[in-house]
C-alpha cells in the first residue's frame, strides 16, 4: 500500500456542515459546534477531508448529506497557525481523510473552536442525486 503523503501547508481540507430545515434554519452555519470533539467516544481529532484527494461531491456522499448540507474549506496553513495539527488519517472509504488535532492550542477550548470556525468558508458544491 502506498504511503500517504504528508499534508502540505497550501492544501485545503473540507468539512461537511450539516443543515436541517426544521431544527437549524436559517442555516447551515459554520460555527464552533462543527468542531467539537466527542472525547468520551475516543475521538482524537476533528475529521476533515483533503481536497487534493477527495472531491467535495464525494465527501457529501460519504457523510450521507441532506439537501441542506454544505461543505466548508480551510487552508491547512491557517489551521496550523492557530496552534492545531493537521495529520493524515486515511480510511478505506476515504483515502483523503485527515484530522485536525490539538497541539499548542486545545480543541476542548471553546475559543479555539470559534477561531477555527472563522477560517472555514463555504465552497460551491451540489449534492448529486
Amino acid at each position: 500500500m502506498a504511503q500517504t503523503p504528508a499534508i502540505e501547508d497550501d492544501e485545503f481540507v473540507l468539512r461537511h456542515i450539516p443543515g436541517g430545515s426544521e431544527w437549524q434554519a436559517p442555516g447551515p452555519r459554520i460555527t464552533s459546534y462543527n468542531f467539537r470533539l466527542r472525547r468520551e467516544q475516543g475521538e482524537t481529532g476533528v475529521s476533515v477531508t483533503r481536497l487534493r484527494i477527495t472531491a467535495p461531491e464525494k465527501l457529501l456522499t460519504l457523510v450521507k448529506a441532506t439537501p441542506e448540507s454544505r461543505v466548508a474549506a480551510a487552508q491547512v496553513a491557517n489551521v496550523r497557525a492557530l496552534g492545531l495539527r493537521v495529520v493524515p488519517k486515511p480510511v478505506d472509504e476515504d483515502p483523503g481523510h485527515a484530522e485536525i488535532q490539538s497541539d499548542i492550542a486545545d480543541l476542548d477550548n471553546h475559543s479555539v473552536r470559534k477561531r477555527l470556525a472563522k477560517i472555514f468558508r463555504f465552497v460551491a458544491v451540489t449534492l448529486s442525486s
Binding site: H16, Q24, G27, Y33, R38, V63, S111
Partner: protein, 155 residues
C-alpha cells in the same frame, strides 16, 4: 444564585409554549415582551427532539432532552434582560445545544452541554477582542455574559 424570574409570566404547556418539547409539563418563566423571533426559535428547539444520532455525518450524538430544556430555559432568562437579534440554534456534537447571536461586528455564542455545564465565547470581528467563560445554566446567565450581550442589543 438562581435567577428564576419572579416578575415574569409563567405559562402552562401549550403548542407554542416555551417548554413545549421538554415533555415534563413544567413551567418556564416567560418575559412579558417576547421578541418576534421567539416562536421560531422554540419550534427549532422542539424539533431538536427528532434529530437523530449521526445528524452531522460524523457520528454526532443526538441532542439530549435535558440539554434542550436547559437551553430553552436559558434562552428565556437571557431575553428577559436583553433585547437580542434572532439566534442561530443548533445541536452540538456531544448532545448539547448551541445558541449564537450575531449583530454587526459582535458574535456571541453559548454551548449548553447539560443543565450544569455550559460555556460562552464572544468575538468582536472588527477589533479581534475576545472573551469567554464557563458557567452552570441552572444558575442563569453569568453577569459577564449579560454585559457582553448588551453589545448586541437591538433596541
Amino acid at each position: 444564585m438562581n435567577r428564576k424570574l419572579e416578575t415574569d409570566v409563567s405559562v402552562e404547556a401549550a403548542s407554542n409554549g416555551p417548554h413545549a418539547g421538554t415533555g415534563d409539563g413544567s413551567k418556564v418563566a416567560v418575559p412579558a415582551t417576547r421578541p418576534s423571533w421567539l416562536p421560531r426559535a422554540l419550534e427549532q428547539l422542539r424539533a431538536m427532539h427528532n434529530v437523530p444520532e449521526n445528524w452531522d455525518g460524523y457520528h454526532g450524538d443526538a441532542p439530549r432532552a435535558e440539554s434542550i430544556e436547559a437551553a430553552t430555559n436559558f434562552l428565556f432568562l437571557v431575553i428577559s434582560g436583553v433585547s437580542l437579534p434572532p439566534p442561530f440554534i443548533s445541536p452540538t456534537r456531544i448532545g448539547g445545544i448551541l445558541i449564537e447571536w450575531e449583530q454587526d461586528c459582535h458574535e456571541l455564542e453559548v454551548e449548553i452541554d447539560s443543565p450544569d455545564v455550559a460555556s460562552y465565547v464572544y468575538l468582536n470581528t472588527r477589533t479581534a477582542e475576545e472573551a469567554s467563560g464557563e458557567f452552570s445554566p441552572v444558575q442563569g446567565p453569568p453577569e459577564p455574559f449579560l454585559t457582553l450581550a448588551t453589545r448586541l442589543q437591538t433596541v
